[in-house]
Assembly symmetry: none
Homo-oligomer: 217 residues x 2
Amino acid sequence: MKIKVATAEDNNLLAGSIREKLNLFPHDIEFKYRAVNGSDLLKKLNTDPSVDTILMDIEMPVMDGIEATHQISQLFPQIKIIMLTVFDDEDKIFQSIQAGAMGYLLKDETPDKICESIKEIMKGGAPMSPAIAAKSLALLRNPTKLVPSENEEDYALTKREIEVLNKLSLGLDYLEISEALFVSPFTVRKHIENIYRKLQVHNKMTAVKKAIQHKII
Amino acid sequence: MKIKVATAEDNNLLAGSIREKLNLFPHDIEFKYRAVNGSDLLKKLNTDPSVDTILMDIEMPVMDGIEATHQISQLFPQIKIIMLTVFDDEDKIFQSIQAGAMGYLLKDETPDKICESIKEIMKGGAPMSPAIAAKSLALLRNPTKLVPSENEEDYALTKREIEVLNKLSLGLDYLEISEALFVSPFTVRKHIENIYRKLQVHNKMTAVKKAIQHKII
DNA sequence: GTATAAATAAGGCAAATGCCGTATTTTGTA
DNA sequence: TACAAAATACGGCATTTGCCTTATTTATAC
């Protein structure tokens, strides 16, 4: 059974080159189609989803490869995605993996290596160019990078507002908070309005999340 | 210039087998010595530190491979370490990488692959068996696992419910979640009802908080 | 002492939420 | 194949929330 491969690559020359590489292995690989961007790929997948593996460029117009990977791994979780790109920075690597990519190759890989990688990903592996593998491990070694640390903005919350925020985070509603703080529920609502404005959020969830992220509570 | 390789392996048979595999490539690899545990390895390194790469077992008496890796990467940062073990659980993988290992192979790898890996690590790569690479990516995809947690109650949330919970945590409302998941807002509400029942909470705040605390999301 | 900010209180209104019900389709599995 | 679980979809209804406005009292600072 041949592995059905699609590509997403905006550059015509590169797309042709990739296709030629794939065609060197007619016994193992069946080239299905090539999309010119993420949006185009999703359209083609909706028409013909019988694809096993996608070779995905990152930088593409309209919809980039990371966003496309994100959506495809939701909509077509059985499809394996290999990023095939010139980018080798930790940021792009991490974003791609987060989005659901299971492999990450640099564009200068040999046809042989690309074919090997496609076979490997179908066996549940995670093919990576050596430099990418090294950077993945670097990310694992320093997980602090994985949690984007914030730049400690000053949201200028008042003491009372922080108190209210703490109650909020416990899941109390306005009335319960007003009882806990011995003030009117109207006051609590006003505090929360002010908190929302200062944190630039519009509901309890995100207010508490942001407050936790920024170590306000 | 031949790559100077040492091994740490308590099992005599396996150590012999590894040595044989290395000796299949006399042109590329020079076998320096074999240690029987981490402590022994450190002693030998102090006597003769002219080693490029170490093939390190994990489970060894006196001092295990992870602790040895940790110390060696401090004392001899130029030495590259490849874990060569039967363990393929995320825990051991993560610990090894944290300790400073730059490669991770399973013991059933072919001589060819081991030799390739040694060359690759000397070029700055990070050779991994496919299953290990996949698990590394899984770790990167879910960095919360990187912070070890304790007792995990089973709330028996379904995959879909967890998806909804994730969207909830981003501050999306029912309608936005329904659009993100391509289902009706009624369905989302029903999922959330079920989530509340299972987690024994009654609003979004506490549901998300509890889910985070219990590493569900 | 007098601005300024903070905390307090209140009301209206549209939208979102939480909870109850029912019911069909899909999926996994024994 | 048959059963159970999961996912889907819909409606009603009371409550809560988010946002607007206004207004008084209390601290703090200059």
